[in-house]
């Protein structure tokens, strides 16, 4: 069902793509930063601290998206024993963790002047911390377990268990009362964020996605080099 590529072919693809992704990342980041820091308007209530949101929200989205991808790849790997899935998932994890930490830190920086506190043990913030713990467990278990067959199983199970946390993060602000506000960007109904603030938000999201993709390609390349060095022709 899933075609297994030759290592050399994969390597040349992932290697060539890097510079294009890097170029696009620089373009989106510079336009996004100019929009977010200079051109977009301040908020009527929180004035310029709204600009933290242009880093906070995309980071949170990207870290959630990456974890979901890792979990679904793990399900695929667990069921079909496709080793490529677990290598892709492994290479995605570090940028997911970094964006998760950025979301937590920028949230705290925004929370102090807005709410009056750096941290609140409400459902949204706590479940986001749990996601960071799952990322940590996932990345560490790749390093701890030496046995090749064991390590793919254990990391897959961790990601699949962590998947249960993802809808909890998403809906925590609706299921319970939280200090964190509900989402402003909505798919099914009108967004409660002004259109002039949506553009920088989406540009920054695109930049962060491209950055994750770039780091992923580099990590994945390294994994392929390791396999090549062992003299294996196929994954």
């Amino acid at each position: 069902m899933f075609k297994i590529f030759g290592v050399n072919k994969m390597f040349s693809i992932t290697y060539r793509f890097q510079k294009y992704v890097f170029f696009l990342f620089v373009v989106f980041l510079s336009v996004g930063l100019v929009e977010a820091l200079l051109l977009s308007p301040p908020d009527y209530l929180q004035s310029d601290s709204v600009r933290i949101m242009y880093v906070h929200v995309p980071s949170a989205w990207v870290s959630l998206g990456i974890f979901s991808t890792i979990a679904f790849l793990s399900i695929g790997n667990f069921i079909f024993k496709n080793k490529n899935f677990s290598l892709i998932a492994k290479s995605l994890a570090p940028s997911g963790l970094v964006f998760n930490i950025i979301a937590l830190v920028t949230g705290a920086i925004w929370g102090k002047p807005t709410w009056g506190t750096f941290w609140a043990w409400d459902a949204r913030i706590t479940s986001m911390l749990i996601l960071a713990l799952f990322y940590g467990m996932y990345i560490l278990s790749w390093k701890i377990f030496e046995d090749k067959l064991q390590v793919t199983k254990i990391t897959s199970i961790i990601a699949i268990i962590g998947l249960v946390n993802v809808p909890i993060i998403k809906f925590s602000v609706e299921w319970w009362t939280t200090l964190h506000q509900p989402s402003s960007v909505k798919i099914l109904s009108d967004s409660t964020i002004h259109s002039s603030m949506i553009l920088p938000l989406f540009l920054m999201t695109a930049a962060f996605v491209l950055f994750s993709l770039l780091i992923f390609l580099m990590k994945y390349n390294t994994e392929l080099i390791k396999i090549k060095n062992k003299g294996l022709e196929r994954l």
Binding site: L45, T114, A123, I161, W176, T177, L179, M197
Partner: protein, 140 residues
């Protein structure tokens, strides 16, 4: 189409995920009163007994209700059904305003009075430039 092993693995994952989802659901359901960050004035009214321990009450700061005399701030938290009168001695965050969200942490004095030890401003999900806000207010 798929081998027996693949079917067994799918079944295993299905059982694993169902077990975890159910466990998490039961735990969150039974801990509901700790998972919620604050109670609304209506929920405070509905309490069976006055809680001795520290709780949080949240809602809107009622219009024209903030009264400051000698560092002590009195205001009313409302959810437009019920109200609770809050007394607080200390610093409030910048975004603490009338007709904006607030979460007060402290102790109940009966069902209508609350001694707050900490005030947090709750920001809502509305983001807009000042001009748009003015335009909105002008049309109202």
């Amino acid at each position: 189409m798929y081998g027996k092993k693949v079917k067994l693995r799918v079944l295993f994952l299905f059982l694993l995920l169902s077990a975890i989802v159910l466990t998490v659901f039961l735990v969150l359901k039974s801990l509901e009163e700790n998972v919620v960050y604050f109670l609304s004035p209506t929920e405070v009214k509905a309490l069976n007994e006055i809680k001795k321990e520290k709780i949080r009450v949240g809602g809107m700061v009622k219009k024209n209700s903030i009264k400051i005399n000698d560092k002590i701030i009195n205001f009313v938290i409302t959810d437009f059904k019920n109200e609770i009168i809050v007394r607080y001695d200390g610093l409030v965050p910048n975004l603490f305003q009338e007709e904006k969200g607030v979460v007060a942490e402290g102790f109940l004095d009966g069902k209508n009075f609350f001694r707050a030890s900490k005030i947090l401003a709750k920001h809502d999900e509305n983001y807009m430039p000042p001009e748009v806000k003015e335009a909105l207010e002008a049309t109202n």
